[in-house]
Symmetry: C2
Subunit: 569 residues, 2 copies
Amino acid sequence: MRWSKTLLCTLREDPKDAEIVSHKLMMRAGLLVKLEGGLYSYSPLGVRVLHKVEKIVREEMDRAGASEVLFTALQPISLWEESGRAGLMGKSMFRLKDRNENTMVLGPTHEEVATDYLRTLASSYRQLPATIYQIQTKFRDEIRPRFGLMRCKEFVMKDAYSFDIDSDGADESYRKMYDAYLRIFARCGLDAHPVEADTGAIGGNHSHEFMVLAPSGEDGILHCPSCHYAANQERAERKAPPCDWSSPSAAPRAKVATPGAHTVDEAAAALGIASDQVVKSLVYVADGKPVMVLMRGNADLCEPKLRRVLGAAELEMADPETTAKVAGPFGSIGPIGASIPVFADNALREARDMAVGAGEDGYHVAHCNLMDDPDVKIEAWHDLASVVAGDLCPRCGAPLALERGIEVGHVFKLGTKYTKAMGFTVLASNSQPVTPIMGCYGIGVSRTVQAIAEQNNDADGIVWPASVSPYQVALLSLDSKSESCAGAVAQLEEALENAGIDVLVDDRDERPGIKFKDADLIGCTVRVTVGAKSLAKGGAEVRLRKTGETELVPVSQVCEKVKALLAAN
Amino acid sequence: MRWSKTLLCTLREDPKDAEIVSHKLMMRAGLLVKLEGGLYSYSPLGVRVLHKVEKIVREEMDRAGASEVLFTALQPISLWEESGRAGLMGKSMFRLKDRNENTMVLGPTHEEVATDYLRTLASSYRQLPATIYQIQTKFRDEIRPRFGLMRCKEFVMKDAYSFDIDSDGADESYRKMYDAYLRIFARCGLDAHPVEADTGAIGGNHSHEFMVLAPSGEDGILHCPSCHYAANQERAERKAPPCDWSSPSAAPRAKVATPGAHTVDEAAAALGIASDQVVKSLVYVADGKPVMVLMRGNADLCEPKLRRVLGAAELEMADPETTAKVAGPFGSIGPIGASIPVFADNALREARDMAVGAGEDGYHVAHCNLMDDPDVKIEAWHDLASVVAGDLCPRCGAPLALERGIEVGHVFKLGTKYTKAMGFTVLASNSQPVTPIMGCYGIGVSRTVQAIAEQNNDADGIVWPASVSPYQVALLSLDSKSESCAGAVAQLEEALENAGIDVLVDDRDERPGIKFKDADLIGCTVRVTVGAKSLAKGGAEVRLRKTGETELVPVSQVCEKVKALLAAN
């Protein structure tokens, strides 16, 4: 492809709304063009990377035995009502009415459609196992679209769905996808790690996310350098922190005036105790019902854990009015005589001699033993704390490290959540109906494109791995007006393309400096430069974008040299 | 691919709602699975055909110098307001509100987005000409979705947009796309004809549709067997039919009682004249304003022609109340003293001694000479008649034939309609701003898939051309339990796949009759059958689906034989 024949435009400046490096570089290199917030057009360069990633995904899905289908983005809301998710998706799911006033949704995911597809076609155990997948456009009405393709309103996903008649089969299907994901991300040149994850609105009982480590990532990942335990912060567990409650004060429970003390630290100061001797009491509303949550003063609640424990579709902190009505004023909430269910973090299990809010502004209750106090009723104890760096690994007890990651894939064991709700059964070998066990498996294809750029760049631009480089070679023609130079460029272009290597020829009438800068910015894996100077020295300059290593190679040997570089990078 | 590993399901019965043969066969062969009216899922077989057509489209677009981009389906309504089309699309465009109550549309087409893309990137004439294209999902809220992929709510299109700085360049861009379309449809094995067409809501001044001739087609096409003029019925012209007005009656204009005569034929009978001496007067409302249209009694108005003449976004026949208010009661409308603009068909130009409605129930006016009558004011004369079979070719005068066709492609010369409305200019070589001239070019990719099936089938099923066959070869294993048979099948599968030929191996535990029936129904170009019998006779049976010609070929020579058949079909 000749640069002059295509509409490639690079930018000198970072776009104002681009916060992370990959977003800046994707825009500056002209891979994306903004339509409006959260909506991006792919330029000819962007489409090429997208298609290369799609091809890798497709090959590995096929290799894992999955069959490609294609569903519609439009879905009738009735399917979501059948599965019980219609109310669960909230405003993040685009809804619209057709001309007959029927409500449709723009699919953010396709569990319902996939289950409906299978129940239309499959009636016998002999048709299973089956794993289907599609590469398709998804829609999500993001509260705050940002970071380019990382969090936008319309994006390309690969979503796969497996159906098995027994649990062993379902585990096997899950494993095949898990392994395929490792291969896919490796082939894309990504350093991606599977971590245990929360299942969120998709549901099911077990899931792994594939995380690309990057400081800009929106997800926190706890991992253990010792035993390699790794989990999303929303899911991560910890060994409860050690605490010495062996010699509690024998003082009886006592209401103490703590005027003006509303935070844990203020209460601790007013009472002259450590902040982890104060119980943090919080009121949440879960699917319309208020609950109280108790945490140690120095720990934060991990909301996804609470949501999971309660099985709640919607969960939010109660507003001051609701809180005051059911548990006293903000800053003085406490569990003594509480009229709503109380859940407590495991770390409070042995806690004695604690201070709690008195349910009355300006007062706390000191010397409270949560487990024994007849006026404190704990509904259940759970692991509810946000795990942070330095907390102890739940498996081996070593201190955990915290990193940031970008979720590029997610695999779920769904069990029979959808197949049961939607009444999909097949006849087993004993002629009895059995409800298939399902798994679902997503890859954010467009997000993966940008994650590659996020992980592979330097001060000059993107550094594409050969497998997904928009063109594998940028061929710079420095003296197009010289016949020998133009001839060498044409000869090289033909030789490379005949060898199955895609080439972007920079044939613009621009200064060499601009061509070098743009080549670095766009980041094709190999750069080949042909000019009067290089020809005089005996050939073309072949340069690996990643290392900058440059070699003068006779024109006739450039193709072999490039092949070797591409195979290794 | 092994049948047993994929979820292929054929149907014995035609689906109840399938009216045309391709819809029936696509469903029965298991290429499509219905989600609900107007929404279809592509099965693994369907996806394969879709991708093969997409690949042909992509290769020919690239060859024609177009660059692939990818836009979003979601578009802000503001772009449509800029172009002036927001009101024009009516209910066929899906609209929705995002969480911030902004109105978005689901793109039925992308002229606005493409123009916006170009104005973001291009500022100089040196960046033009540019033709961009995408293969993408489009949405249309059809009044009556039907015929499977022919008229559905969500479909795959290739849409391209060209931008030139002068008219010659625009013509050249148009010609390149026109030629590419001819190649694309030929490569898809389609007999498709370019015909002159109406520009409809897309606008512009010149367009061609590419029509696949088929009795089930929704479009009427007039074509001249003599000079090869061809046009959509919405656009077709005709030589005005000869009529002898050389000796008109000299009788003066006279109001005549015609009690109960409301139709042209009733009025002609009441007056004792031929029906083509009666003027048919119609009242339409164009963008809210009523107009009267005069046709010869034996001709029908072609509404798209009237819409084009008036430049109207919305056009519909006036209801009885409106008609009565502005032009008298239905059945007695007439142009004498009309208070609204009157447009007349060219065929009435020389008409004399005509009968017209008197604007009063039960009366007509006889002996009216439209051109001379001081009480009849004709705003303009136009070709407004629906052309029918037997009308005369506007070019050579030979009688026209009428056929039915399926529109699979449409190319438009748009002029500056969008670039001007959206304020897109580039600097010309003289440093003056110039408004680029645009063309747009669509192919219904999913519709093309089904059109191929509509044109290529027989009583047993689909007959796919080799270029788009879901698998090029169906390899039937008749005696899978026999080791020699299974071995020969495996050997053939490997040999064919190594030769780059895709193969569907029917390894099901089914009777031969069922396998033959399914192979015919699905319609892969070549069928290879291996059984104990064929092996005993010395090889495998190789059969061309199209002709049924069958040959016994030694296993070692099957691959060469298949290659030859595929190359020729």
